[in-house]
Subunit: 289 residues, 2 copies
């Protein structure tokens, strides 16, 4: 990997991911100046006070216009507005990327709204938590995690290289997939678990909720995530999530039918298959454990 | 709470829970002699080597016959066999309890199979993990967690007192509920999350499984639990779990229908409600956080 450095970075949205990205690049000496744009003075103040960004602004176009690399780090629901606002201000050679959890519509919007579609590289660092805001930003948030890049046939090779370098420099494993493929995968690995966790919380009565144990808390931790952000994700990836919900409902319905006819063995096979795979996932992800 | 001590404890099943119970009582000097019964010499050897039990045996009746307090700590599927085997050997004043995850059938079996039904007190310490076996036993496993007692109108008051003292001595919060009520609660707080986690793992293709992040791992951690034990639980609590599955399927179906008609707002309300409740659960459980 060629050693390089970003002169001027513009982070649009200084929350958990945007703030952590700025912090991680600064901690490694990989960036000169960091401009941070946000909609709330209070968040920008936290980002400045924590040393995440050098210059705060409420105007994303002003920040983007000075940058070599622009990163969209707001919830995906704000991306199309942002892209429309920054397009005219961008330097022709500037590379634009994002940290959004959905990709097909984001990439389509970017290629439609930006004056140089080949300079946009969709990316999705699979890191973070149910926490939000720059107060939780951390320079090691991305280390060891996976980042998916979703370039298209229009994307220029040097732009892909820069964005690949960006995430690899922060310790991420980088893989490349098509935008639609990305969304089909994430529907099952991320969006479906979120909806299931929320539904598990929702079926409890208030009185039952006083009896939960550590297993319930782990299983539903992600349900504490921001509902606005997750509604955006559902809006962007509706058909793939609906298909994933279908598959989950199918499994649950077969289990219910088994139990209703007094046949617990009907669940045994699925539980055994799930155990084997779940253990394998742990082993793959934590080779030192 | 009156200071007391158990002269002779018999733990039938020296796995994670039975082993931890023995370790916790010994660490606090609350037990004289610990007899441990198991079906595998290898597990018994680990329990002896780790100092969890004093005397290992393959004969549960022999251990139970010498004890003041007998604790059933095998998977619930073995309880009725165990109860049938130990009944004749028990001392008339011995108290019998268990650590099983279901209660209605366990309590009914115990009251039917034991010569002194009033000496049986159902209990369910909501502690543990997806790990199994005495190698993972720890004296602090129960601290701060909840234990449910399910005495019936037949249960003798001094037996309830002893079992209540037992768990409170180990730092547990103790609450009393009816056996059927226990099973209806646990169907939603524990059994349903387990089946949902297993189903979430099962809907992934092998290729998709290489893209998971920390959220998926948390949400599905419990799916690594022993399928035999969980099939037993489904067998014991089938109707309540089927009703819980129904409620979950209902929520997921409404979300799917919303997304299929392009109405992401259909999920927004549920996500917001779930976030509020999930955050409250964290706040309740971790007052220091």
């Amino acid at each position: 990997m060629k050693p390089r450095k970003i002169d001027t970075l513009a982070v649009l949205g200084v929350g958990l991911l945007g703030g952590s990205l700025a912090a991680a690049l600064r901690a490694r000496g990989l960036v000169g100046r960091v401009l941070g744009a946000g909609r709330r003075e209070s968040s920008l103040k936290v980002a400045v006070d924590r040393g995440l960004i050098d210059e705060p602004t409420l105007d994303p176009a002003a920040a983007a216009g000075e940058a070599d690399l622009v990163v969209l780090a707001t919830p995906v629901g704000q991306f199309s507005d942002l892209l429309a606002r920054i397009g005219a201000a961008l330097r022709p050679d500037a590379v634009v990327t994002d940290v959004g959890s959905t990709k097909a519509q984001v990439v389509a919007d970017a290629e439609r709204l930006l004056p140089h579609p080949g300079r946009f590289v969709g990316s999705h660092p699979i890191a973070g938590s149910e926490k939000r805001g720059p107060a939780f930003a951390a320079p090691d948030l991305f280390e060891g995690a996976l980042c998916l890049l979703t370039p298209t046939e229009r994307t220029e090779a040097d732009a892909v290289q820069l964005v690949r370098w960006l995430w690899m420099s922060l310790g991420m494993r980088v893989r490349q997939v098509g935008p639609a493929e990305h969304d089909a995968i994430l529907a099952r690995t991320s969006h479906l678990p979120h909806l299931a966790a929320a539904a598990l919380v929702d079926v409890l009565t208030d009185s039952q909720a006083t009896f939960i144990g550590p297993g319930f808390l782990d299983t539903t931790r992600i349900a504490a995530g921001d509902p606005g952000m997750w509604t955006d994700i559902c809006r962007h990836n509706g058909p793939a999530i609906a298909a994933a919900l279908d598959a989950l409902i199918d499994r649950l319905t077969r289990m219910r039918e088994g139990l209703q006819r007094g046949d617990a063995d009907a669940v045994a096979e699925l539980l055994a298959r799930a155990q084997t795979r779940r253990r394998a996932l742990d082993a793959e992800r934590r080779p030192d454990a």
